[in-house]
Structure formats: C-alpha cells, structure tokens
Amino acid sequence: MTGNDFRTPLSRARGLGSAHHGVSGFLVERTTSIALVPLCLWAVYAAIKVAPLGYESAVLMLRQPVNAIMSLLLISVSFLHMREGLKVVIEDYIQTHAARILALLLNSTLCWGLWSVAAFSILRVAFVGGPVL
C-alpha cells in the first residue's frame, strides 16, 4: 500500500471498490436529461392531440414521419434515462447483494424489453399501418 491508498491488496485483487466506469452512468443520465427536455414537452403536446382521436386517426397521426421519429426518440431516450435513474435508486436502498443484483437485472430487462416492444410497435404502425394478418 502506498501513500493515500487505504485499500488492502486483497480488496484490490477481489475487484472491490470503484469500478472506474461510474462516470459513464453519470453522463448517460445528464445527456439523456437534456434530450428529454424538448422530447417530454412534445409528449405532452402529442398526448393532447391524440387523446380525442379514434383508432384510425391515431394510426394516421403516428404514420406521419415527424410523429413516428419523435415517438421513437421519446421511447428510446426515456428508457435509457429510466434505466440509469432506477439503477441509482436500487443501489441506494437495496442492501442485500442477491436482491440488488436481481433488482438491477429486472430493471434492465424491463427497460430493454418494453423499449423493444414499443419501438417495434411504432415502426410497424409507421410502415405498415394498422393490424395486418
């Protein structure tokens, strides 16, 4: 051990302590939050526009390229931001190692899974329209 390093050689060998990639999580949270400022304002606007529409008009609205692209961006950036955000909450409050790993895996699975389903739905409606057999 040298100078200011308070860690034992064993703890370093076991890979405990900082993993040295915390900055990427911090940056993902910040960059996505900046992108979400215009995206969530658009989401509120679009929600009001789509709320009174019936099925066919809603499909036609999402088929407009601008709406499809904005929806795709909204869903993608939101799920990235949510995954980072809930990760911090889980790491703060869940102390048991196994429960924490499980919660982190569940968080990632839910975010990536729902993103895939939502993104597929948006693209399918945009390219194909309503349900096609």
Binding site: L36, V44, A58, L62, R124
Partner: protein, 139 residues
C-alpha cells in the same frame, strides 16, 4: 473532529447522511424526495406509453380497451399525476443541470428554485389540463 470516549480512545465524529427519520423537514429535502418519487412515477408512465403503442399496433379492440381504461376517473387521476410528474421532474432536472455547472448552491437560491419547481409543476399541469378540457381533448 475527535472526541474522547469512556474507554479513553478517540472516536471520529462522522457526518450523518440525510435520512427521513433523523433529518429536519426542509423544502430542499422535499424537492429531492419529490424528484425521486416523480421519477419512479414516470417509470410507470413510460410503461403506460409502451402499452399504448403496443395496443395501437395490435388493433382497434386492444386500443379501445386501453383508451377506455385511461378515460375512467382512476385513469384520469393517474394521467393528471403523470402530468404533474413530467413537469416537476423536468424542472428538477434543469435544477440539477445548473448544479452540475457549479451554480445555484446558495441556501437562498436552492430554497427559491425548489419552491419554483413545485409551483411550476402545479401551474403547468393545471394550464395543460384546462387547455385539454377546453379543446375537448379530455372529456
């Protein structure tokens, strides 16, 4: 700071982390808790959005069911809560970005921006819902 204990050794006076049970209520503390709470609420909101897009893909029956559920009183309460959450989390996020730039930490400024974020969330939500009701987007 160090303090002599009964055993004659010195024990460091470690700073205590903020915690609901030991921390005095304060507006900045409420603002911080609200940021997390609205973030978790918006997690639910994103799940609703994903379900909505999926229903739109599945067809008129699934879409009709989702819209009917969102149109109930309970659905409207959830949607209003999500509107407040969007605007509060947005304002709180901007506050955090200013802090990341190294500004806004003075107690007076922090208190003021905390109250401003809460007021903005309420006013913006009421304005948006008033517009939605007036234009017939929500009945």
């Amino acid at each position: 700071m160090a303090e002599a204990t009964s055993k004659g050794k010195t024990a460091a006076m470690r700073p205590i982390a903020p915690h609901l049970q030991v921390w005095r209520w304060h507006v900045t503390m409420a603002a911080s808790i609200l940021t997390r709470a609205t973030g978790i609420a918006l997690y639910g909101g994103a799940i609703i959005a994903a379900v909505w897009f999926t229903a739109l893909m599945l067809g008129p029956d699934a879409f009709g069911l989702v819209m009917a559920l969102l149109g109930t009183w309970a659905g409207k309460v959830v949607l209003f809560g999500l509107t407040v959450s969007v605007f509060y989390h947005l304002a709180a996020g901007l506050r955090h970005l200013v802090w990341d730039a190294g500004a806004g930490f003075q107690p007076g400024t922090a208190n003021m921006t905390a109250v401003a974020a809460m007021a903005f969330a309420l006013v913006a939500s009421v304005v948006v819902w008033a517009l939605a009701l007036q234009t017939g987007a929500v009945r």
